[in-house]
Every structure is written in structure tokens, then in C-alpha cells.
């Protein structure tokens, strides 16, 4: 650097006056600004909108339907079956990955850029920063799910059609009812997705490593699914964060049952609360020695 500085003295306040301080809304707006500026977040939203169209078109073009997959045998009969096939697939690792891309990075990126010391020497408290980042990650997850779900359902209906859907017990579900149930099924994925968002937040705070924060929730989700397929774990299976991704199955039976949905709400709430509580305490108690 060799640029000279101005010679005029800066205006300096004569007395220390209490600052207005940061509001949660202000901190939230700042987090949203940073997120909008990140190409990665924009790509996720764009892919969530476009990828389902391509995938539905490919599935529709397949001569041999995946009969061993839930709703796989009906993909040429109804677009709603395609939307549900896609939901089953998305719940395995796509949804955890999409939310982790932001949630797993949102705290750790401050470590990566060394900016904790920059933001924590302002008027915003650690609590405000924590909740602003958490809300941002949660809203992003919901927006991604909304775009992905809407794109999947619309493209499935437009490409394959809105014929009646054959339910899990072989019953025929009229088109209008099927549409509502498919939307409800996609909406049910919001809860485990929020659970994975909170898990990614915890890993982001704990590891301070964006790569780990993004990849680990996906790996953990896969391990949970693998564990869930083992025998002798019936008591534990409902408490796995991946199980609520399947809770919509009861909606598609002849005699609908919603117990898995109710259990899923509880399980996701517990996972979210525990992850957020630990992450909050870690951030509050942390000494910022790096950067």
C-alpha cells in the first residue's frame, strides 16, 4: 500500500453515547444479504428448480420402470407416482445435502474467513448472531424444499399426467385427492429437513469446518438409513432422524394412519432442540482465538 490518506480530521463524537444497538431483524437482513451474494446458494435454488424437470423427463422415457421401488411400477400410470418416487429418493440424501450446503457452512464460514472477530466487535450479541444464522438456514431449507417439491410435482403432472394414483394398498386414489396427498407428503419432509438443518448447524459450530459441516450430515443420514435397515433395532428406528422422511407412507394407505407423522414431529423436534441447544452453548462459551 502506498496511497496517501486525507489530511482532514474525521468527525469524532465528544461523549460516549449508548448506541442504538443491533436488532435481530438487522442481523437477519445482513445474513440474508451474505447468502444472496453467495453463488453456491443461488446454484442450489436454481438446481432445485430445474433438476426435477430433467429427472422426470428421463424417468418418463424409461421403458422399464423401477418396480422394486416405492411407486416405481406406476411411474407411467400417473405423474403423482413419479412425484412420490422422487420424494422417496430425495429423502435418502438429497434433502439432507441441500440443507447442509447452507446450514453446514453458515457458522463455519465465519471461521474460514476469520470474520468472527469482525462481527463480534460490533453491537450484535452472540445470541443475535446465532438466531439470525439459524433462521436464515431454516428459511433457506424451507425455500429449497418448496422449490424442489413444486418443481417435481408440476413437472411430473405436466410430463406424465394427472391420472388417478394407485395407493400403497392397491386402492385407486382420485386425481384431486392424490394431488393433495402428494403435496402433504412433500410437506411432511419439512420436519426431518429442519432436523438435518439443525444437525448441520451443530456440526458447523462444533467443527468450524465448512466441508465437514456440509458433508457430515449427509454421511450421518446414510449411516442412519443403513442402521434402520438392520434387524433388532425396532425400538431405536423411530428415533432416527431419517425415519420421519418415510412418515408420509401412511397417507397413501387405504386406511390412513398418521402415527408415524406424529412420532416424526416429536423426533424432529427433539433432534432440532438438542442440536440447537448444544450449538448455542458452544458458540456462547467459545473463545475466539483465531482469525
Amino acid at each position: 500500500m502506498s496511497a496517501s490518506v486525507q489530511t482532514t480530521a474525521p468527525p469524532i463524537a465528544g461523549q460516549r453515547t449508548p448506541r442504538r444497538g443491533a436488532s435481530l431483524a438487522g442481523v437477519l437482513a445482513w445474513e440474508a444479504t451474505k447468502l444472496r451474494a453467495q453463488a453456491r446458494a443461488r446454484w442450489v435454488l436454481l438446481l432445485s428448480a430445474l433438476a426435477p424437470i430433467v429427472i422426470v423427463a428421463i424417468i418418463n422415457g424409461q421403458g422399464r420402470p423401477p418396480k422394486d421401488t416405492l411407486f416405481g411400477r406406476y411411474i407411467h400410470h400417473s405423474g403423482f407416482a413419479v412425484a412420490l418416487l422422487m420424494l422417496g429418493f430425495a429423502g435418502q440424501w438429497v434433502l439432507p445435502l441441500l440443507t447442509a450446503i447452507v446450514a453446514g457452512d453458515i457458522f463455519a464460514s465465519e471461521d474460514q474467513h476469520g470474520t468472527w472477530k469482525t462481527v463480534l466487535t460490533r453491537s450484535a450479541s452472540r445470541g443475535q448472531l446465532f438466531w439470525a444464522k439459524t433462521i436464515t438456514a431454516v428459511v433457506f431449507a424451507l425455500v429449497v424444499l418448496l422449490i424442489l417439491g413444486a418443481s417435481t410435482i408440476l413437472s411430473s403432472v405436466l410430463i406424465v399426467g394427472h391420472q388417478s394414483l394407485t395407493g400403497l394398498t392397491g386402492q385407486l386414489i382420485p386425481s384431486g385427492t392424490a394431488a393433495r396427498l402428494v403435496v402433504a407428503s412433500w410437506a411432511s419432509a419439512a420436519l426431518p429437513m429442519l432436523g438435518f438443518t439443525c444437525l448441520a448447524i451443530l456440526l458447523s459450530v462444533r467443527t468450524r469446518n465448512p466441508a465437514f459441516g456440509i458433508a457430515a450430515p449427509v454421511v450421518i443420514g446414510m449411516i442412519m438409513q443403513l442402521f434402520g435397515t438392520l434387524g433388532g433395532v425396532e425400538a431405536i428406528r423411530p428415533w432416527l432422524l431419517t425415519t420421519p422422511f418415510e412418515s408420509w407412507h401412511g397417507l397413501l394407505a387405504q386406511h390412513r394412519f398418521t402415527d408415524p407423522l406424529r412420532t416424526g414431529v416429536l423426533v424432529c423436534a427433539v433432534w432440532s432442540a438438542v442440536c440447537l441447544a448444544i450449538a448455542y452453548i458452544l458458540l456462547r462459551r467459545r473463545d475466539i482465538t483465531e482469525g
Binding site: P18, G21, A37, K117, R122, D287
Partner: protein, 322 residues
């Protein structure tokens, strides 16, 4: 002078396992003062300043800023305080201006005019729209000052602000700090450069391995500094040393590790000694100044140099002896 101290730290200690990074440090900075915290790397300066900002919690002691502690008023303790720790960091994918806008939001917001004003003060108006990722180190340093000024501080805390800058950048940064101080700002500056502190500060605390070894004014420190040393190289150092003992008893002269002679005394005494050496027929091959007296004192205080720490300045030793 206002009664409330800008900084009032008492008995501040921070330990990391067996390592005591900051040991019972007390430090008072009056409003309007330009205060230096001086010490070599690892002395605990940055850890102390991080505690001042609340980035690190002390294990013992209290820190009050303008009479208030974080435990009492939360983040409002930093009202009227601006600054940065080590090199300031920003979001590289945002422009300088967007970074400042965002940081202002964390303080309740700032007007566009105020943003323009602080960018102009640090001479970044022309580059304000560029992404920070493309800024040079010096530009980020100046953006750090701009971000600090956005808070309309009464106390500016700068941790080694000239670190990593080229000579022109150092000159500009020092000029900026002096100009801010001249405007009535209290400045708390950490540095490992005695010359920088001597040039800018009124008072100084010198730290060594986490402890304070000196508190006081620069003027007082200057008085206590050793005489300027002169390194003397001759064709016959043994004869030159003998001449010093015979004719210049007031001069302290010793051989350094390279066998050269180092003479300590007033300028008149050294001049007379050199004249004697040359008159006696001993060829003079070299004559140069050793480190500046204040720098020499700094090394004595912080490195346990061969001369040792002057006892009257060794606060740590005095505390231990108590």
C-alpha cells in the same frame, strides 16, 4: 481530563492449560490518551486485547470500558469502542462498501453519507465497489480502520496496525493514527515495534510472556534508557581497549560476540575516545551506532538480554520479591 477511564483493566489473567497467556495484567488508559501495549510476539498483547473486546473470557480480573463491564451491560460495553484485532477480516465475496454496510447493520445502521465519509477518511472511495477479495493487505487494513470509525468511537483499539504493511503503508497508517488521535480520540495500540510506540504513544505498558514489566510514560522510559552504544572496529582492538581503560574511565566499553568493541557513554566521551584511538596510531576500521537506546531497553525488558533487566524497571521481579 474526564474522570472515567477509557480502559480500566485490573488483574486480568487468561490461562490455556498450563500456559498462562496473560498473567495478572492491570492497565489504565485515560480518555484522550494514546497508549501503547508493547511486547514481542507471544507476550500476550493480542490475548489481552481480545479479552477487552469480549472475544475471550478472562479467567480472573475485570475489564471496564468507560466505567462499564461486559457483565453489567452486555455488548453495550463496546459503545464508543472501535478497532480490530490483528489483521482485520472481511467477507471476500462482498465489496468494501457492502462489508461496511453489513457491519453497520450490526450496530443499528449507518447513513450512506457516513459510509462515504469513513471511506474517504481512509482513502478507499475509488475502490469501495470492488470485492474485498481483490484488496491488498494495506487496503484491508485501511478498511478495518474505516469499519472502526463507523462506530463513532471515542476509543480506538488497534492491534499491530502496521503489521504486514510496506514502508509507505506503515507511514500512512501512522499518519492516520496520529491524525485521529489529534482529533481527540483515545487510542490503545499494540505493537512489537518500539519505534512505532515511541513515535505515536504518550504512555506504554511493556509485556513479557504474559506479564507486565513496565508501565509508564515514554518520556520516563527515554530517561531510563541506556546510553547510545557505538560499535568500534579497529586494527588493534586490544590496544584500543587498553586506551579506554587508561584515558576514558567514564566510558563503559565491552567486547561483543564478534570481538568488536562497543562503547557506551555520552557523545562527547565517545568523540574523545575515538580521537585518542586515532591519535595513538590505531587504525579505525569502522564506527557505527548500535540499536537505539529505547530499543535496547525494550530488549532488556523483554528478552533478558546479557545486561539483564534494570532492576528498577522490572515490575515482575519487584512483584515476586514482595
Amino acid at each position: 481530563m474526564p474522570e472515567v477511564l477509557a480502559v480500566d483493566a485490573v488483574g486480568v489473567t487468561k490461562r490455556y492449560g498450563a500456559l498462562t497467556a496473560v498473567n495478572d495484567v492491570s492497565l489504565q488508559v485515560a480518555q484522550g490518551e494514546v497508549y501503547g501495549v508493547l511486547g514481542p510476539n507471544g507476550a500476550g498483547k493480542t490475548t489481552f486485547l481480545r479479552m477487552l473486546f469480549g472475544l475471550i473470557r478472562p479467567d480472573a480480573g475485570t475489564i471496564k470500558l468507560f466505567g462499564q463491564a461486559r457483565e453489567e451491560v452486555g455488548t453495550h460495553v463496546l459503545d464508543g469502542v472501535g478497532g480490530f484485532i490483528e489483521s482485520p477480516r472481511f467477507y471476500p465475496y462482498l465489496s468494501g462498501r457492502r462489508n461496511l454496510e453489513g457491519l453497520a447493520r450490526l450496530d443499528g445502521g449507518a447513513t450512506p453519507d457516513r459510509l462515504d465519509e469513513v471511506l474517504a477518511i481512509v482513502d478507499l472511495t475509488d475502490r469501495a465497489g470492488d470485492k474485498v477479495g481483490g484488496y491488498s493487505f494495506g487496503m484491508r487494513q485501511r478498511l478495518g480502520v474505516a469499519a472502526s470509525l463507523l462506530r463513532d468511537p471515542l476509543l480506538l483499539v488497534l492491534d499491530e496496525p502496521a503489521n504486514g504493511l510496506d514502508p509507505a503503508g506503515i507511514r500512512d497508517m501512522r499518519a492516520l493514527i496520529k491524525r485521529l488521535a489529534a482529533g481527540g480520540l483515545t487510542v490503545l495500540l499494540s505493537s512489537h515495534d518500539m519505534g512505532e510506540v515511541e513515535e505515536i504513544c504518550d504512555n506504554v505498558t511493556i509485556m513479557r510472556t504474559g506479564s507486565v514489566v513496565y508501565h509508564g510514560g515514554i518520556a520516563e522510559l527515554r530517561e531510563r534508557a541506556p546510553d547510545q552504544g557505538h560499535r568500534v572496529r579497529t586494527a588493534d582492538n586490544a590496544r584500543a581497549l587498553a586506551l579506554a581503560h587508561q584515558h576514558h574511565g567514564g566510558l563503559r566499553i565491552e567486547a561483543d560476540a564478534d570481538g568488536d568493541l562497543v562503547a557506551y557513554g555520552t557523545q562527547a566521551e565517545v568523540d574523545a575516545y575515538i580521537t585518542t584511538v586515532v591519535t595513538d596510531g590505531v587504525a579505525l576500521r569502522g564506527l557505527e551506532l548500535t540499536e537505539a537506546p529505547l530499543e535496547a531497553l525494550f530488549f532488556m525488558l523483554t528478552e533478558s538480554a546479557p545486561g539483564g533487566v534494570p532492576h528498577e524497571l522490572d515490575h515482575a521481579a519487584a512483584e515476586a520479591a514482595r
